[in-house]
Symmetry: C2
Subunit: 198 residues, 2 copies
């Protein structure tokens, strides 16, 4: 016997989520069958709502439920600092840390030639235009510390060369709370190269 078609379909759909394998998808499907109708439908509605209500901010490409995201709409932010991130979730991580009060620009990806993703598919043109018209004194590159993230930061830095702004990037080194023994060569090389006076 196969699962009934509705159950099979749900398992298939859940199995398409990242990090959810076949067994997990089955477990989640049976969970959704067991909980109250209200709880199951609340999840269905939340997915539908998010796709119907959430769009990208017209200025910075953060997630928004209107033309401007809460950050671009906040007049208390420091408009001289602009932090470049790959994805809205990176922006969220920085906001949750609560250590940056400037504005953001979300690239919505990174340059990855092997995946066929070039600068044109990101929001780099809008970023350049924003820098041209804004009065930013510092652009902080907060792309991920990967080959693609570093490559994207370098590309953007070159594009911004004509403007009178400081371009910086997040510090790299040993992570707070880690142990040197379990730190790899690349991390130690970065940490040594960026050593600071105490």
């Amino acid at each position: 016997m196969e699962n009934s078609s509705s159950v099979s379909d749900l398992i298939d759909q859940l199995g398409r989520l990242p990090g959810i394998g076949r067994k997990s998808a089955e477990r989640l499907a049976y969970h959704l069958l067991r909980v109250s109708q209200g709880e199951a439908l609340a999840l269905a509605d939340a997915i539908r709502n998010v796709r119907e209500n959430v769009c990208y901010c017209s200025v910075c490409y953060n997630l928004a439920e209107g033309p401007l995201c809460p950050i671009c709409g906040d007049s208390n932010r420091d408009t001289t600092q602009l932090c470049i991130v790959e994805q809205p979730r990176d922006l969220m991580a920085l906001e949750q840390a609560g250590v940056f009060r400037g504005l953001y620009h979300v690239l919505l990806g990174r340059i990855a030639p092997l995946e066929g993703i070039g600068p044109d598919q990101l929001t780099i043109d809008d970023l350049i235009e924003r820098v041209r018209r804004g009065n930013f004194s510092e652009i902080i590159m907060a792309t991920n510390p990967t080959v693609e993230g570093d490559g994207s930061a370098l590309y953007i830095t070159n594009q911004l060369a004509e403007f009178p702004v400081n371009v910086t990037r997040l510090a790299r080194g040993i992570t707070t709370g880690s142990v040197l023994e379990h730190t790899n060569r690349e991390i130690l090389a970065d940490a040594l190269a960026g050593r600071q006076k105490i």
Copy 2:
């Protein structure tokens, strides 16, 4: 800044799923924002469909999309053997193994006094009635090999004492492909107690 309310709500709903923590819920939510509208809504619809179309079989309490589940509606099954399982997913595991051709009865849980689940909250009354009216020659207990599963099997066995049926349970022992070295005391005790002539 907080996430927009739709995104927060989706993260909350995803975080209520078993085995999905806060970070995983965030990752899944951003995934659902990034995929095509069609793919995201397909998941929402699959959840809604499953709750609107799937009910319990009126005979065995397996999941069904009509009065009878595919197994109870299949005239080729052996109607003299009845296998008792806790949940539809246990039934599914047995069916996927393809080694049993009889009928099933799903308890929809197990007796768990510590959680306040007694025999009345399961489908045991219907099971007794089914055995009374059917012509089963063997009832196979396939509840989980846990304290609650074994307790439920024992309770049901006592309830069935008045009927002329053989009540059996799934064999216990070392699992195929495992190594003795990593097998615990309870498994070895079961394996020794149930040793078979070769």
